[in-house]
C-alpha cells in the first residue's frame, strides 16, 4: 500500500509530463494544464499521506524498484526511501509544484507553447522527486542531472529570443542563460561525481545506509575529500559563490519556473544534499565550517547585489541566493534540521514572492524594471498583499515563518561561537529587509512611472490568486510548527540544541535581528515610499556600480574563461590540429609524393642514361663489395 503511494508520488509527475508532451506540438489546450495540475495534486496527496504515515510510525519506507546499473562490483538499484527528510521535501516539492502548475495555467495563458511548458515543468517535478527520494547517491545524481536539464529547458523556454548585449540584458538571452546554467552546474556535477567515486572505491557501495555505516571506518582524508567533492556538487546546484552567476541569469525563464525551480526546489537541492549526507559532514568539521563560512559570505554577498538592482526578478533571485547562504550556514554549523526548516519555510515565501512578481510582470507586459513601475497597489491589491506578506516573511518579522527559521540560523551562528558569521548574518538580515521593501515600495507605492498609453496593468486571474493563497497561509503559519517539525525530523537528523549560554541571550539576539530587519524596512520606506528619487551621484559611485554589475563577476568570467576558452579552442583547431597534427600526416604523404617526382627524373627515357644507371649500380655494388672485403 505504502509502496504504491511512493510510486504514485514519484510517477504522477512523470505521467503528467508525458501526457503534456503528447500535446507538446499542438495548439494550446487548457485541459493539459488542468490534468497536469491534478496529477501533481495526486502526487502531493500521496506525499502528504506518506508524511503522515512516516510521522505516525516514525519508520522510513524503503522500496527498490529494479536494478539500474550492475557491473563489476558496482550495483546501483532504482531504490527509494521515504524517511523524515525526504518526505518533508516530497511534500514541499509536490505542494509548491501543484500551486505553480495551477498558477501557470493562468500565467502561460497566452503562450503558444503552453502544453510544452507543462511537460517540462512536470518533468522537472519528477526529477526533483527522484532526487529527494533516492536511497543512493547515484539515484540522487539522476535527479540532480534531471533537474539540471529541466532547468535548462525551462530557462530557455523562450528560446526564440535573440541574443542581446550584456548592457541591454545582463542575461543576454534565455538560451544563453540556459546554457550557462547547465554548464555551470556541470562543473559542479563533476565534483559530485568525484565524490561518488571516492565513496564507491572506499565503501564499495553508493547506498546511503551502506555509506553512512562505513564512515567510522574511513580515513579522515578520504572523508574530507568526499565531503569537499560532494559540496562542490552542492555549490553548483545551489548557486554558491563562485558558481552563482547562473541563478540570476536564469530569471530569463518564465516566472513560474523561477518560483518553482530557482527559488523553492531545485536550488535547495544542494542544501538537501548536505543535509542528506549529514553523517559525512558531521565528521568533517573543517569542511563543514567552510560550508558555513561560504554560506554566510554568499548570504551577504548576494544581499549586497540585491541592494541596487532594478530588475524585479533578479532582486528576488539575489535574495534566494542570500537565503541559500543562510541555509548552508546552518547546515555547515551542524544545525541540519534548522537548515531544512529554513529550506521549507523559504520555499513557501519565496515561491509566493516570485509568483507575485509574476503577477506584476503579467500586469506590466513583461516589464521588469522596478524604476518603471510604482503605484501598482491600486490595481493589484491581492498581489500587493501577497508580496508584502512574503517580503515581511523574508525580512524575518515576527510571527511569520521567516522569523522562526532565519532567527534560528542566526542564533546557531552565535551559539557556535562564530561571531563573525553571526555579525554578517545579522547585517545581511537588515539588508534583506531593505531590498525587499525597496522593491515592494518601488513596485506598489508611489507614483505610477509606467507609460499609461502602452501599459494597462490589471490583476491576475482569480483562480490564480486563490491558488497562491496556500503559500501565503503557509508563509504565515509555518513558523508555528517549528517545534513539531523539529521532533519529526530530528528522529533522523541529529538534534541541535542551543547551549545554556545562548538561551540566556536568546531574547537579546532576537531583538537585535528584529531591530536590523525593522531598520531595513524603515530605511526603504523613507527612501522609496514616496516614489523614486534618483541620486546621480550615488548611482555613479564606484560601490554602486560594482554592486549593480554584480562585482563584474559575469564580465570577468566572460573575459577570463569564455573568451580564452573560445580562443584556445580556435587555436587548437587551426593552430594545432590542422597546422601540426594533420600537416604532419599530410607532410609525410607529400614528402613521399615529392620524392616520387624527384626520383622519376632518373627515368629520363634515354637509354644511355639507363645504361649509366646500371653501371653506377654495378660499380657501387662492386665498390661496396671491395670495401667490405677489405674491412672484413
Amino acid at each position: 500500500m505504502m509502496e504504491n503511494l511512493v510510486y504514485i508520488a514519484l510517477f504522477a509527475p512523470l505521467v503528467s509530463s508525458l501526457f503534456a508532451a503528447m500535446f507538446g506540438m499542438s495548439q494550446r489546450k487548457t485541459f493539459v494544464g488542468v490534468i497536469a495540475s491534478l496529477l501533481l495534486f495526486t502526487s502531493f496527496v500521496a506525499s502528504a499521506t506518506l508524511a503522515v504515515e512516516v510521522f505516525t510510525t516514525g519508520e522510513a519506507i524503503a522500496v527498490t524498484m529494479m536494478q539500474w546499473i550492475g557491473m563489476g562490483d558496482l550495483y546501483i538499484p532504482f531504490g527509494f526511501v521515504v524517511d523524515q527528510v525526504s518526505v518533508t521535501m516530497m511534500t514541499m516539492v509536490s505542494l509548491i509544484s501543484t500551486i505553480v502548475h495551477v498558477y501557470s495555467i493562468g500565467y502561460m495563458d497566452h503562450d503558444k507553447s503552453f502544453n510544452r511548458f507543462f511537460s517540462y515543468l512536470s518533468a522537472f517535478v519528477f526529477s526533483m522527486m527522484v532526487l529527494v527520494m533516492s536511497d543512493n547517491f547515484a539515484g540522487l545524481f539522476i535527479g540532480w542531472e534531471g533537474v539540471g536539464v529541466c532547468s535548462w529547458l525551462l530557462i530557455g523556454f523562450w528560446y526564440h529570443k535573440p541574443d542581446q548585449s550584456r548592457e541591454d540584458n545582463p542575461s543576454i538571452s534565455p538560451s544563453w542563460a540556459a546554457n550557462e546554467a547547465f554548464i555551470m552546474n556541470r562543473i559542479a556535477d563533476l565534483g559530485m561525481l568525484v565524490g561518488l567515486f571516492i565513496l564507491y572505491w572506499n565503501v564499495g557501495s553508493l547506498q546511503y545506509d551502506a555509506v553512512f555505516a562505513a564512515i567510522p571506518n574511513l580515513d579522515q582524508w578520504i572523508l574530507n575529500g568526499a565531503a569537499i567533492a560532494l559540496f562542490i556538487g552542492a555549490m553548483g546546484k545551489s548557486a554558491q559563490f563562485p558558481l552563482h552567476t547562473w541563478l540570476t541569469d536564469a530569471m530569463e525563464g518564465p516566472t513560474p519556473v523561477s518560483a518553482l525551480i530557482h527559488a523553492a526546489t531545485m536550488v535547495t537541492a544542494g542544501v538537501f544534499l548536505v543535509i542528506r549526507a549529514n553523517p559525512l559532514f558531521a565528521v568533517t568539521p573543517e569542511v563543514s565550517y567552510f560550508i558555513a563560512a561560504l554560506g554566510t559570505f554568499v548570504a551577504f554577498f548576494a544581499a549586497s547585489m540585491a541592494l541596487v538592482n532594478r530588475d524585479l526578478k533578479r532582486i528576488i533571485a539575489f535574495s534566494t541566493l542570500s537565503q541559500l547562504g543562510y541555509m548552508f550556514a546552518a547546515a555547515g554549523l551542524g544545525a541540519y534540521w534548522i537548515a531544512l526548516f529554513h529550506l521549507v519555510a523559504h520555499a513557501f515565501f519565496k515561491a509566493l514572492l516570485f509568483l507575485g512578481a509574476g503577477n506584476v510582470m503579467h500586469a506590466m507586459h513583461d516589464e521588469l524594471d522596478i524604476f518603471k513601475m510604482g503605484g501598482l497597489k491600486k490595481v493589484m491589491r491581492p498581489t500587493y498583499i501577497y508580496m508584502g506578506l512574503a517580503s515581511l516573511t523574508l525580512a524575518g518579522i515576527f510571527p511569520l515563518a521567516g522569523f522562526f527559521s532565519k532567527d534560528a540560523i542566526i542564533e546557531t551562528a552565535f551559539n557556535e561561537g562564530t561571531y563573525i558569521l553571526w555579525i554578517m548574518l545579522v547585517v545581511t538580515a537588515g539588508m534583506t529587509a531593505f531590498y525587499s521593501f525597496r522593491q515592494v515600495f518601488l513596485t506598489f507605492h508611489g507614483t505610477e512611472r509606467y507609460d499609461h498609453h502602452e501599459i494597462h496593468p490589471h490583476e491576475m486571474y482569480k483562480f490564480v490568486l486563490i491558488a497562491m493563497s496556500p503559500l501565503a497561509i503557509l508563509a504565515v503559519i509555518a513558523g508555528f510548527f517549528k517545534g513539531g517539525f523539529e521532533t519529526f525530523v530530528t528522529s533522523l537528523l541529529p538534534a541541535y540544541h542551543m547551549s545554556e549560554h545562548t538561551h540566556h541571550y536568546v531574547w537579546l539576539l532576537t531583538a537585535i535581528v528584529t531591530l536590523f530587519a525593522v531598520g531595513g524596512i524603515l530605511l526603504a520606506y523613507l527612501k522609496y515610499n514616496k516614489g523614486l528619487e534618483r541620486n546621480e551621484k550615488l548611482e555613479n559611485s564606484f560601490i554602486y556600480k560594482l554592486l549593480a554589475n554584480q562585482y563584474y563577476i559575469p564580465r570577468l568570467y566572460e573575459e577570463m574563461i569564455s573568451k580564452p576558452y573560445a580562443m584556445i579552442s580556435e587555436k587548437f583547431w587551426h593552430g594545432v590540429d590542422l597546422k601540426i597534427v594533420d600537416r604532419t600526416v599530410d607532410g609525410i604523404a607529400h614528402f613521399l609524393y615529392r620524392s616520387g617526382d624527384v626520383n622519376r627524373r632518373m627515368q629520363t627515357g634515354n637509354l644511355s642514361h639507363y645504361l649509366n644507371w646500371m653501371a653506377v649500380g654495378a660499380v657501387v655494388l662492386m665498390v661496396a663489395a671491395a670495401v667490405t672485403a677489405m674491412i672484413g
Partner: protein, 496 residues
Amino acid sequence: MLEPINVSLESLNLITLAPMLIAIAGGLIILCIDLFKDGLHKSLYVMLTVLVLLIDLGSVIGLNLNERGFFDVILIDGISIVSQVLIIVGSIVFIPLALSSKRFHEYSYPEFFALFLFMVAGFQFMVASDNLILIFVGLETASLALYTLIALHNRSNSYEAAVKYFTMGALAAGFFAMGSAMIYALTGSIEIYKIAEVLGTRIGETDLMIAIFGGFILILVSLAFKLSLYPFHTWAPDVYEGASAALVGYMSVVPKIAAFVVAIRVFGMAIDLGIEPIRTTILVIAVLTMTLANIMALVQEDVKRMLAYSSISHAGFVMAALALDTTEANTSIFLYYALFMFTNLGAFAMLWISRHKMRRFNNRYDHPYEKFAGFIKIMPVGAVIMGLFMLSLAGVPPFSVFWGKIYVMQAAVNAGYIWLALVMGLNSVIAAYYYLKLVVYMFLKDPIKDVDTIYYNISRPLMVIIGFATVATLGAIFYIQPLVSYIYYMISASGY
C-alpha cells in the same frame, strides 16, 4: 687417344628433358604448319600453343623429384618443378590474350607463337639446371625471343621498348658472363653444386673475399636487371609501356619466376655458405627497390606505367624474401608469384581489353588514369573487377596477393627480420595509394570523355580469362592451403 665414351640411354634420363623438348617441338610444328599453309587464323595457333603447353605441363608434373639428367646438366628438383609449373601455367593463361577482338600485328605471325614456345622452353632450361652455361643459354634464348615478341607489336613505342630492353639485356649478359668467369676462376667449376663445394673450402681465404663478393655481385647485377631491381630497373617502365599489355602481364611474372629460381640457386648457395654481405646487399637492394619503385609509381599518370613500377616493387618485395634464405622464404617467393600471377593477369587483361588499336588516349599514353575516370558508370562490372584486382595488388585481404604478402612477411618475421616485415608493410601502404588512385578514378570520378564503352578489344576468350583471373583472385583463400603445402613440399624436398 681418348677412350671411346659409352653412354647408356638410361643414364641420360631423357625424360627430364621431355618438357622442354615438347615445347620446342610445338614451336617447330607451328613453323611447319605455317610453311604448309599461309593465312591461318591466330586462334589456331593460340590453341595449338595452349595444347602444347598443356602437354608440357603434364610432362613436368609427371617428373620425378630430385633427378638429374643428361650428364647432370638437367636438374629436376622441387624448385625446378614448381617454377616450371608456374611458368607453363602462366604461359597458358597469358597466351589466350592474343584472342582479342581487334587484330594486332604480332599475332598475325605464326612465328610469334613459335617464338613464344621457344621462350617458354628457354625459361624451362633456365630453371631446370644448375649449370651456369645452360642457365645462361636458356636465359638468352628466352630473352632474345622476348625482345622479338616485344618488337613485333610493331609500333614506335614497342621498338623503343625492345631496343632498351635488348641493349640493357646485352650489358647484363656481359655482367653475367663476367660474374660466371670470376666464380669459375675461383672454383674451377660452373656447376652450382660443385661451386658450393669448392667455395666452401676456399671461403676461409681472406684475400679471396673480394673476388668472391665480386663474382656474386656481378651475377647479382645481371639478375637484378632481369628482376628489375633498383637501380637496374630503368628499362622496366619503358618496356612495359611500349609492349602490348598482354605481353607485359606475362613479362612481369614469368621471366621473373625464372630469374628468381636462378637467384635462389646462386645466392641461396652464397648465403648458405655464410657470405653475409651478399645477404645484406640483397636486402638493401630489395628495400630500395620496393620503396623507390613505390614512390615513383605514386606520380605516374599512366596505369600501365604505374603497374610497371608496381611490379618492380613487388619484385623487390619478393627479393627481400630471397635474402632470408629459409624454406619458408623460398616457398613464399613462389607462392607470391603464383598469386600475383592471377591478379596481374586480370589487371593487364583489363588494360588489354581497353586498348584501342590506334587511337591513344592522349599524346603520350594509352592508359592514363583519366581514361578510367567514371568507369563504374560506363561499365560497372568491368570497374568492379578492375577495382578488385587493384585491391588485391594493394594487399587487401582476402584477395590473392594478400596471402602472398602475408606469407612473405611471415617468412621475414620467422627469420628474425621484423624490421623488414615492417618495411614491407609500410611499403604496402604507399603502394595502396596508387592502386587506390585508379580505384578512385574508376569509382569516384565522372567520365572525362563522352564514351559509351572502352571495351575496345574485348572478346569472349578474354572475358573467360578475366573471369578466371577474378575467380582465382577472389577465391585465393580456398586454394592457398594446397598451394602452400605443395610448394613447401617441393622446396623443402630440394633442400632450399
